[in-house]
Symmetry: C2
Subunit: 203 residues, 2 copies
C-alpha cells in the first residue's frame, strides 16, 4: 500500500451527493421544537412512519435514544442543556451527511442553541418546525404528569414554568396542535417537503 495509492483512495471517498443519489431523496434535519406536551414526539413519530412508508430513508433522534446513550453524562443545567443540543446537532449533521432525512424531537428552548445547529448545516438542510401550543393547553394535556411535578416543585428548571422557552423567529414550518389534527400537521410537513423537492412529489 504505497502512500500515493493511499492519497488516491482518500480523495475518492463516498460523498453526500452520492448517498442522496442512491436514496433518491434529499437529506435534511427536521428540527421539531416546542414545549413539553406540545406534540413534538407524537408528530415526529407519525411523520416518520409516513415518510418510511413512502420509501424515504429516515432517522429520528429523541430523548429515548439520546439521553440514555450519547448524552447520559449530561444534566439539566443551562450549560448541560446547551451541550445536549450541541451534540444532537452534530449527530444530526452526520446523519444528514449520511443521506438521511433526520427528525429531532427535543424541547430545545434556547434560540441560540437552535441557531448554532442551523449554522452547522448547509443552506436548506435545517428545517425548523415550531410545534406551537399554549402553555395552558400543554399543562392540561400533561401526558407524563411533568407539569404537575414542576408546579409542586418536584422538578426544577422546567421549561415554561421556571425556565424559559424562546419561540422561533422564522421557523420554516409552524404547526398549531391546538387547531390542527395530527393528520393535518403531518400533511402540512409532507406538502412542504414535496413543494421544496426534498422528496419526489410523485411518491
Amino acid at each position: 500500500m504505497s502512500q500515493s495509492t493511499n492519497i488516491v483512495w482518500h480523495e475518492s471517498h463516498v460523498t453526500k451527493e452520492e448517498r442522496v443519489n442512491l436514496n433518491q431523496h434529499k437529506s435534511a434535519v427536521l428540527w421539531f421544537t416546542g414545549l413539553s406536551g406540545s406534540g413534538k414526539s407524537t408528530l415526529s413519530v407519525a411523520l416518520e412512519k409516513e415518510l418510511h412508508a413512502q420509501g424515504i430513508h429516515t432517522y429520528r433522534l429523541d430523548g429515548d435514544n439520546v439521553r440514555h446513550g450519547l448524552n447520559k453524562n449530561l444534566g439539566f443545567s443551562p450549560e448541560d442543556r446547551t451541550e445536549n443540543i450541541r451534540r444532537i446537532g452534530e449527530v444530526a449533521n452526520l446523519m444528514v451527511d449520511a443521506g438521511l432525512l433526520t427528525l429531532t424531537a427535543f424541547i430545545s428552548p434556547y434560540r441560540t442553541d437552535r441557531d448554532n445547529v442551523r449554522a452547522l448545516l448547509d443552506e436548506n438542510e435545517f428545517l425548523e418546525i415550531y410545534v406551537k401550543c399554549s402553555l395552558e393547553a400543554c399543562e392540561n394535556r400533561d401526558p407524563k404528569g411533568l407539569y404537575k411535578k414542576a408546579r409542586a416543585g418536584e422538578i426544577k428548571s422546567f421549561t415554561g414554568i421556571d425556565a424559559p422557552y424562546e419561540e422561533p423567529n422564522h421557523p420554516e414550518i409552524t404547526v398549531d396542535t391546538e387547531i390542527q389534527s395530527l393528520e393535518e400537521s403531518v400533511q402540512v410537513i409532507i406538502n412542504y417537503l414535496k413543494e421544496k423537492q426534498y422528496i419526489d412529489a410523485r411518491r
Copy 2:
C-alpha cells in the same frame, strides 16, 4: 390530539427491522482498530466505496468528521480518549439503528473502550477489524509525519511510542497490511459480510 392517539402513534414508531427491510441489507458497525499509519482510514474508505457501488447504505466515521464536530471539546488525555470512543460508539449505535452499515476508523487503543462499544450493540452488530501492521512498518510509512514528531517529543502520548496500543484478543476479522494488498484486504471483508449474510452474496 387525544392522549390515547398519542400512545398509539408512539407504539408504532419505525423499527430497525423495518429500515433493514427497506435497505435490503443488515446494519452493523465495522470497527477498524490499529496503529496510526496501519491503513485503517485507507482501507475503510476503499471498502465503503465498494459497498456503496453495490447499493449498500453506508456511513464512515473518522477523525475528520468527528474530532472537529461532536468531539471538538475533547483532548487526548486518557479520560478524553475514553469519552471520545464512548461518543463514537453511541453514534455508531444510532447509525446501526438507522439501518446503516457503519464504518469507524479510529486508533481506539484501549481494549476496554472497544469492548464497551461492543456491549452497546446487539449480538453480531459489532465487527472488530484489526488492521495489523508492525510499529516499525507504520513508522516507516509515517504518511502524516506524526511518528517523526512523536520521536522528537513534539507530540506527547502518541500511541505506540509513549502511549499503549492494546491488540484485540478476538477480532472478527484481521487484515495484515504488510502482507495483503488494499484490494485483497477489501475483498476479505466483503467476503466475510457475504458469508455471514450481512449483505446479499448475489450482489
